[in-house]
C-alpha cells in the first residue's frame, strides 16, 4: 500500500500527465488482486504492475499511451487463452479488466484524492474510492466511519455506495459492485492500514504467533505487565513491545477493520479488563486462548458487568481453527488461519471442498 502512495508522489515530482491503470476485475485466476495498479507517465516512466509483468503489462502500456493521447478513460478487457498463458509463462489463465484513466498531475484532483486516502490510512482508518465504470470522472471517497466526499452522480447512489464500501473495507476487498436501479458498475478501490496483530500476554504461544504474523506481513504488538516475559530476546520479530497495565495500554490503541487481537495470557486478570476495552472497539478479530468452559465463564462475567450480547458474540473462544494443533507453533498457525479467514469473510473450509 505504501508503495502505491510513494509511486504517486514520485510521479507527481517527475511527470505532468500520467495514465493510471487499475485492475478492476479478474475471471479465472490472476497473480494480482483487484486494485493492483500500474502508472504510465507521458514522459515514459512506468511504475507498478497489474499482473506480474510480461505481455499483459506491455498491452496496458500501449493502451495507456492511447488514453493519454485521447485524454479519455478506457476499460480494457484482456483475454488470456490457456495456450497464450502457457506460452508467455503466465502462471495463471484468466481474463482481466483494466481501467485506464489519464490524469493531468498539475491540475488533477486525483493527487488530492490519493493524499486524502493516505492521510486516512496513516491515521489507522481504511478508505475506499468508488469509481463509476460508466463515467470514471464520477468518484466518491468513503472513509471508514462513513464520511464521504465527491459523488457518483446522485445522493441515492452515494448512499448505496457508502454501505457497500463500509462492508468491503471491513473485508479489505476491492471489487466491482452494481449499484442503482440500472445496475451501474462501480469499482470500489479499498485502501487500509497494514493489518496489525495485538497480542495481550507474552507467554509461550505468543512467541510463534508473533513470528508467524510477522512472516505474513502483519505489524505486531505484544502487551504484558511482566518485563521478564515481554523481551526482545523472546520476540525478535515484534514491532512494538509494551509493558504496563494491559487494559490501560489497550485503551490507548486504535482498533480498525484490519486489527487482530489475540489474548494469550490465559489469566482472567488480563482477559477481563482487556476484553472490556477491546470488544466494544470491534476490531476484525478477537480471539481468547482457553477452553470452551473457560470462555463461557469469562463471557458470563462480562455479561453480568453489562456487556452487550452482540459484543460477546464477536469473541472467538476457543481461538483458532480445528487443525489438531498441539504445539505452540501449531496453535499459533490455527489462530492466525482463523483470523485471516474471518477478516476475509471465509468459512475456512478445505479448498478442495470449496464450491
Amino acid at each position: 500500500m505504501e508503495e502505491l502512495f510513494e509511486d504517486i508522489e514520485k510521479l507527481a515530482r517527475a511527470e505532468k500527465r500520467v495514465a493510471m491503470a487499475t485492475l478492476v476485475a479478474t475471471r479465472g485466476t490472476s497473480p494480482k488482486r483487484e486494485g493492483a495498479k500500474m502508472w504510465i507517465g507521458e514522459e515514459g516512466r512506468i511504475l507498478g504492475s497489474v499482473t506480474i509483468g510480461g505481455c499483459v503489462d506491455a498491452r496496458v502500456i500501449a493502451e495507456s499511451e492511447q488514453a493519454l493521447s485521447s485524454s479519455a478513460s478506457r476499460l480494457v478487457e484482456m483475454k488470456l487463452a490457456d495456450e497464450d498463458a502457457w506460452e508467455i509463462g503466465f502462471s495463471c489463465a484468466g481474463d482481466l479488466d483494466v481501467l485506464i484513466e489519464p490524469f493531468d498531475l498539475t491540475k488533477s484532483s486525483m493527487l488530492d484524492l490519493y493524499r486524502t486516502v493516505r492521510a486516512s490510512v496513516d491515521h489507522g482508518k481504511a478508505a475506499a474510492i468508488a469509481t463509476s465504470l460508466n463515467d470514471s470522472l464520477q468518484k466518491l471517497l468513503i472513509v471508514e466511519g462513513g464520511e464521504i466526499s465527491g459523488t457518483l452522480g446522485s445522493p441515492e447512489l452515494d448512499r448505496e455506495a457508502r454501505t457497500v464500501a463500509l462492508d468491503l473495507m471491513r473485508k479489505r476487498i476491492s471489487s466491482i459492485v452494481s449499484l442503482g436501479a440500472d445496475s451501474s458498475p462501480v469499482f470500489f478501490e479499498v485502501h487500509g492500514p497494514p493489518p496489525t496483530l495485538i497480542v495481550f500476554g507474552a507467554g509461550h504461544v505468543s512467541m510463534p504467533l508473533v513470528s508467524l504474523a510477522h512472516d505474513l506481513g502483519l505489524r505486531t504488538v505484544v502487551v504484558d505487565g511482566r518485563p521478564r516475559f515481554a523481551t526482545r530476546e523472546r520476540f525478535p520479530d515484534v514491532d512494538e513491545l509494551l509493558i504496563g497495565i494491559p487494559s490501560e495500554i489497550a485503551e490507548t490503541m486504535t482498533y480498525t477493520s484490519s486489527t487482530f487481537v489475540v489474548l494469550t495470557a490465559h489469566d482472567y486478570k488480563y482477559d477481563l479488563p482487556v476484553l472490556k476495552v477491546v470488544l466494544p472497539a470491534r476490531p476484525a478479530y478477537v480471539g481468547l486462548l482457553g477452553s470452551r468452559r473457560r470462555g463461557k465463564a469469562i463471557k458470563e462475567f462480562l455479561k453480568d458487568g453489562g456487556m452487550d450480547q452482540s459484543l460477546l458474540d464477536q469473541l472467538h473462544v476457543p481461538t483458532g481453527l480445528d487443525i489438531g494443533a498441539d504445539t505452540a507453533a501449531e496453535i499459533a498457525l490455527s489462530i492466525l488461519a482463523e483470523a485471516v479467514a474471518i477478516k476475509s469473510g471465509r468459512t475456512a473450509v478445505s479448498l478442495k471442498e470449496r464450491r
Binding site: 511482566r226 518485563p227 521478564r228 497495565i245 486478570k269
Partner: protein, 122 residues
C-alpha cells in the same frame, strides 16, 4: 463447602471502589509482580499531610484488586504518617478471607505501591 473468599472481597473485586486515575496526583506509584503479572498503580492527592483523594488502577487478581479497592477506602482522610504506619495484617484483615501464605503477596501489592510512593515523596 465454605466459600474461598468473603463477600467483601468478591464485592470489591467485582465493583472496585476508587478505580481510575487522578489528574496531577501528588503521589503515584506502580508496583507489579514480575511472575504473575499483577500490576497496581496507587495515586494520592494530599492536602498538607492528609490524603484527600485516593485512586488505583491496574489489572490484578481478585485478591490484589479487592485489596487495592479497600486500601483506597482505608486511607482517605488519613494523615500520611498514619498511612505509613498501616501494617500488612491490617490490610489483609479488611479482606475478611483466609489468605494463604502464597497469596499474601497479591494482597500486599497495593500496599507495596503505596509505601514506595510515600517513600519517594519524603
Amino acid at each position: 463447602m465454605t466459600a474461598l473468599y468473603s463477600d467483601v472481597l468478591l464485592d470489591h473485586f467485582r465493583h472496585p471502589r476508587n478505580y481510575g486515575s487522578l489528574s496531577a496526583p501528588d503521589i503515584s506509584y506502580e508496583s507489579f509482580n514480575p511472575l504473575c503479572g499483577d500490576r497496581i498503580r496507587i495515586e494520592l492527592k494530599l492536602n498538607d499531610r492528609t490524603v484527600t483523594e485516593a485512586r488505583f488502577k491496574g489489572d490484578g487478581c481478585a485478591i490484589s484488586t479487592a485489596a487495592a479497592s479497600l486500601l483506597t477506602e482505608l486511607i482517605r482522610g488519613v494523615s500520611i504518617e498514619q498511612v505509613a504506619a498501616l501494617s500488612d495484617d491490617q490490610l489483609i484483615a479488611t479482606l475478611q478471607s483466609d489468605i494463604k501464605p502464597a497469596r499474601r503477596q497479591c494482597a500486599l501489592l497495593p500496599l507495596d505501591a503505596l509505601r514506595h510512593g510515600l517513600s519517594e515523596r519524603r
